[in-house]
Structure formats: structure tokens, C-alpha cells
């Protein structure tokens, strides 16, 4: 089992993702009047399940929010370097969740609880949106979009994914990925200079922290174990997977 760019998984949602990518790129390209378009794009997203089976009401707490339109200002080169690292981590997450979906679909993870399947599907989509947002920043500044994960991290994740035998093992690997992403965003927020880039990183970091809480709960751990989020697991742009102080033992 390995984590590769998952064309098969992407094909399943290619139309939806093309829509989202187009919307995201459009948001970065259109300064004024884009909010309504973004809201429409958000309204066009597929409904997700609720506990009671009812779809969340539009505009209610819990309904998808439209991102405000970033101003158009060329970020400094250092910001774009950080954006590229962020995009590569998002690509790794997209690939990993895609591979997990494929593995679940093939029965390689045994019986997958419904909540785990829903988590993998939705979180994979959210990381795709994050990837599109960062690639929008890069391409708007004349840089190439990122389509590959960090090679060293991908190799590390591949090795770990090969040992995953069940949903709990997949959740542990996902927890590690989310911790690295959240810590990297936290580190980036302190270093970025462009207000737009800061706002974007700031809007994504909480989502990764929310993912962490659900994974901790799924693994039987307290969902908010830290008083302060730290940069301990931040990815520097090279090297192996950072150590995971909060990781439970492999099941």
C-alpha cells in the first residue's frame, strides 16, 4: 500500500473539484464582487450528513462559510516560498486521504466505521480546497502551481501507510499528518508578511486543529489536550516526518 497521486479517487469527484478549483481561482482573480460568487460556490457544494439526518440550514451555524475576497497585492518572495511549502503539504494530505479512501473501498482496512469514512471523505475535500487556495496565491504571483508533495515526507508517509492494517491505524497516520500541517501553519503565521497570506494561513490552521480533535476523540483520547498550540511538529521544508509527541502507541 502506498500513497501516490490518486487519479482514481480524483476522478470520482473531478467535476466537483473542478468547480471548487475554478471558484477558488476566481476568488483570487476577482477583487470586487467576488464575495457573492464565492457564496454561490459554497452553496453549490454537496450537502453533508447530520446526526439527525437533516441538512444544515443555509446561513445557520455549521453551514459552509464563504471566504472573504483577498486583496490583490503581490506577496513578498519569502511568503511565496512558505505558500509553496503549504501547498506541498496539502498535496500530501490530498494524496494520503485519497489513498485511504481507495484502501477502504478495496477492503484493505477491514470494516471501516461510518464516521471514519465520512471523516476521510470530507477532510480530503477540505485539503483539496486548501491546496487550491495556495496554488491560487502562487499562480497569481507568476509562480507554478504545486502538484507534488514533499518527497521526503511522502516517502515517510508511504512507509507508514504500508503498515496500516485497519481504520484505527489510518486514523493514527492522519493524526500525525494533521499535527504537522497545523504546526507548520502556526509557524508560518508568525513569519508571513502579506496580510492576505496571513489571513489565509489563519483561516486554515483552525480547520486542521479541528481535524486533530476529531481524530483524538476517535482514538479514545481527550480532544483538546493542549493549553497552547505549538510549533513542535512544524515541517521546515525538508527532512523526515517530525516527531509526534501526542501520538498514541500503534494499534
Amino acid at each position: 500500500m502506498s500513497v501516490e497521486p490518486t487519479e482514481q479517487h480524483n476522478d470520482a469527484t473531478v467535476m466537483e473539484r473542478d468547480d471548487q478549483t475554478g471558484s477558488r481561482r476566481g476568488m483570487f482573480a476577482i477583487a470586487a464582487g467576488g464575495l457573492a460568487a464565492a457564496a454561490l460556490a459554497a452553496c453549490g457544494r454537496p450537502q453533508r450528513e447530520t446526526i439527525s439526518g437533516a441538512a444544515p440550514a443555509a446561513g445557520a451555524a455549521g453551514a459552509p462559510a464563504a471566504r472573504p475576497v483577498p486583496r490583490q497585492a503581490a506577496p513578498p518572495a519569502a511568503d511565496l516560498d512558505i505558500a509553496a511549502v503549504a501547498a506541498s503539504l496539502e498535496q500530501l494530505a490530498v494524496d494520503t486521504y485519497g489513498a485511504a479512501l481507495d484502501a477502504a473501498g478495496s477492503g484493505a482496512l477491514g470494516e471501516v466505521p461510518p464516521a471514519v469514512g465520512e471523516f476521510v471523505t470530507v477532510v480530503g475535500q477540505q485539503h483539496q480546497e486548501h491546496l487550491d487556495a495556495w496554488n491560487g496565491v502562487l499562480t497569481a504571483s507568476g509562480r507554478a502551481a504545486v502538484s507534488a508533495p514533499p518527497a521526503d515526507l511522502a516517502a515517510s508517509v508511504n512507509a507508514q501507510f504500508g503498515m496500516v492494517k485497519d481504520a484505527a491505524g489510518a486514523a493514527q497516520l492522519a493524526l500525525q499528518l494533521e499535527q504537522v500541517a497545523a504546526a507548520t501553519y502556526l509557524d508560518a503565521i508568525g513569519k508571513l508578511q502579506s496580510p492576505d497570506a496571513i489571513a489565509l494561513a489563519g483561516s486554515i490552521q483552525p480547520i486542521d486543529r479541528q481535524h486533530i480533535s476529531v481524530l483524538l476523540f476517535a482514538l479514545g483520547m481527550y480532544p483538546v489536550p493542549e493549553v497552547f498550540a505549538t510549533t513542535a511538529m512544524a515541517y521546515s521544508g525538508s527532512g523526515p516526518m517530525p516527531a509526534a509527541p501526542m501520538m498514541p502507541e500503534t494499534r
Binding site: A42, E49, T50, I51, S52, P56, G59, A61, G62, A63, P64, A65, A66, P68, V69, R71, P113, A115, V116, E118, F119, T121, V122, V123, Q126, A168, L186, I189, G190, K191, L192, I198, A199, G202, S203, I204, Q205, P206, I207, R209, Q210, H211, S213, V214, F217, A218, G220, M221, Y222, P223, V224, P225, E226, V227, F228, A229, T230, T231, P245, M246
Partner: protein, 284 residues
């Protein structure tokens, strides 16, 4: 609701040990700010800072920040309540106090409000009877107290007056809500609102504070408030879905409904829709 209380407390205690490094970062940040504060002592207020803040604030308001967008979309802006909130939001920053100090004072006021809210919840008999909810309320209250202390340390390091009071805008709202707290669902919904206001405020502050160290502190605390919010969203959904018995540790993963896997993060991006403006909890 069921819980292995000893196991969960052990997990909480273990996790608290991880805070040593985080607190070291906060202390480093405070020491740096103390030097900045000392160097600023006796100096005039930086009007460029005020102007830069005002510009960023106007842009946030235009984007629907500080709660105005929510009030407008819900039809509340035209009501008396909405007008009072709008008046607070539209009040210009106090030119006599550095913006960063106002931001930290308001942050402390929100943390103090959260401490008071969870403190009130812990007085309720049905919270005392539910071990998981009680442990969450106690732990979260402690975490908010730590956040308030961190923000007050920054305020004092910058030469400002510590804020030990609760947020003036939301305190009466919480007080009015107290008689309606008749079950865990009502408590969870009120707590979720308080957490969302804090999260959104710190998100907005990321582009308002003057340097990366202060951004780092706000992002660090925001990362924890958003986890409180995510947990409460899941709790609310499980109660409303008729499955409160699943709010338990160890987790019955197989029994959780599919929606439990995504209800905690309803959007791919968080927005500062409920953000409090810097002067809201500032001391004059």
C-alpha cells in the same frame, strides 16, 4: 453518559505536561515585549499604528467582520439590539491607548468571559452529574484562565493595565442566557458561541497586531479555542441526534453515526464573522 473518568483525567494530566514548551515560548515572547514596552514608555502614541489599524478594521468591517455581517444577514441589524452592537463595533479605536494593548485587553476580557461561563455551568446540577461534560468544562475553564493570563502578561509587558473583567458586550448576553440553561444542550450551545467569538476575534487579530510574535500567540490560542468549538459542535450534534450516550471516552467508534466524522468542521476555512473589535474590551 459513560466515561472512564480515571483514564480521561490521566490523559488530561499527561497532555498538560506538553505545555512546558508552549509556555516557554510565551515567556520568551513576553520578555521581548517587556523590552519593547520599556522602550516605548513616555513616548507618544504612534499615530501611524492607529491609522494602519483603522484601515485594516474598515476592510474587515467591509468584509462582514466583527459580527456586522451576521447581524445583517439575520435581520438583527435593524433591531434595537443590532443597533447597540453596531454602535459598539463602529466606535473608533481609542487614540490614547496603543492598539496592541487594546487588542490584548479585549482578548483577556473574552477569556475571562469564557472562564465565567464555564464556571456558571459547573454550578448546574445536571453538569455535575455528567462526568464527561464536567471534566470538559473544568479543563476548558482552566485553559481559558491560562489564555487570559498570557494575554494579560503581554498587556503589562507593553505598559498597559491588565484586564481582569469580562467582556462588556457579551457579559449581559451570557447573564440573560443563564436562566435558560436547563440542560446540557443549552449549555453547550452557549459555550460554543463564546468559543466562536474568541476564535473569530483572534483570527481577525492576526492581521491587526503589529508583529509576528504577537500573531504567533494569537494563532496558538486560536488553535485551542477552535478545538473547544469543534468538540462542542460534536457534542451538540450528538445530543440533538438523540445519541448523548456516545459522548464518552473510551470512544465507541463503530457506533458513531457517519455525520460525527464531519460535523465538527462545517467549512474548509474559518472566517472572522463574530470577531470583537480591539476596543470592545479595552480599558480607558
Amino acid at each position: 453518559m459513560t466515561v472512564n473518568d480515571r483514564a480521561m483525567r490521566s490523559l488530561v494530566e499527561e497532555s498538560q505536561d506538553l505545555q512546558v514548551d508552549a509556555m516557554r515560548n510565551v515567556e520568551l515572547c513576553t520578555a521581548e515585549l517587556r523590552e519593547v514596552g520599556a522602550s516605548r514608555a513616555g513616548q507618544e502614541i504612534d499615530q501611524d499604528e492607529i491609522r494602519a489599524y483603522a484601515l485594516g478594521r474598515r476592510k474587515l468591517l467591509k468584509a462582514g467582520g466583527f459580527g456586522i455581517g451576521v447581524l445583517a444577514s439575520s435581520g438583527l441589524l435593524a433591531t434595537g439590539f443590532g443597533q447597540r452592537v453596531a454602535a459598539i463595533v463602529n466606535r473608533p479605536t481609542q487614540a490614547s491607548t496603543p492598539v496592541d494593548i487594546q487588542i490584548f485587553q479585549t482578548a483577556s476580557s473574552l477569556e475571562n468571559l469564557a472562564v465565567a461561563t464555564y464556571g456558571a455551568a459547573l454550578q448546574l446540577p445536571f453538569i455535575q452529574e455528567q462526568a464527561v461534560v464536567k471534566t470538559f468544562a473544568e479543563t476548558t475553564m482552566m485553559q481559558h484562565a491560562e489564555h487570559s493570563a498570557a494575554f494579560n502578561a503581554q498587556t503589562e509587558a507593553l505598559g498597559g493595565q491588565r484586564q481582569d473583567g469580562t467582556n462588556p458586550k457579551y457579559t449581559p448576553i451570557v447573564e440573560e442566557a443563564k436562566p435558560t440553561l436547563t440542560d446540557a444542550l443549552a449549555v453547550a450551545k452557549l459555550a460554543a458561541t463564546v468559543e466562536e467569538v474568541a476564535q473569530d476575534t483572534y483570527l481577525a487579530n492576526l492581521t491587526l497586531v503589529s508583529d509576528g510574535q504577537k500573531r504567533l500567540l494569537f494563532a496558538s490560542v486560536m488553535g485551542v479555542e477552535t478545538q473547544h468549538l469543534a468538540t462542542l459542535r460534536a457534542v451538540i450534534a450528538l445530543i440533538e441526534g438523540g445519541a448523548p450516550q456516545l459522548i464518552a471516552i473510551p470512544t465507541d467508534l463503530a457506533a458513531l453515526p457517519a455525520a460525527a466524522g464531519s460535523v465538527a468542521f462545517p467549512a474548509a476555512f474559518e472566517e472572522p464573522n463574530l470577531a470583537s473589535p480591539p476596543e470592545e474590551g479595552a480599558l480607558s
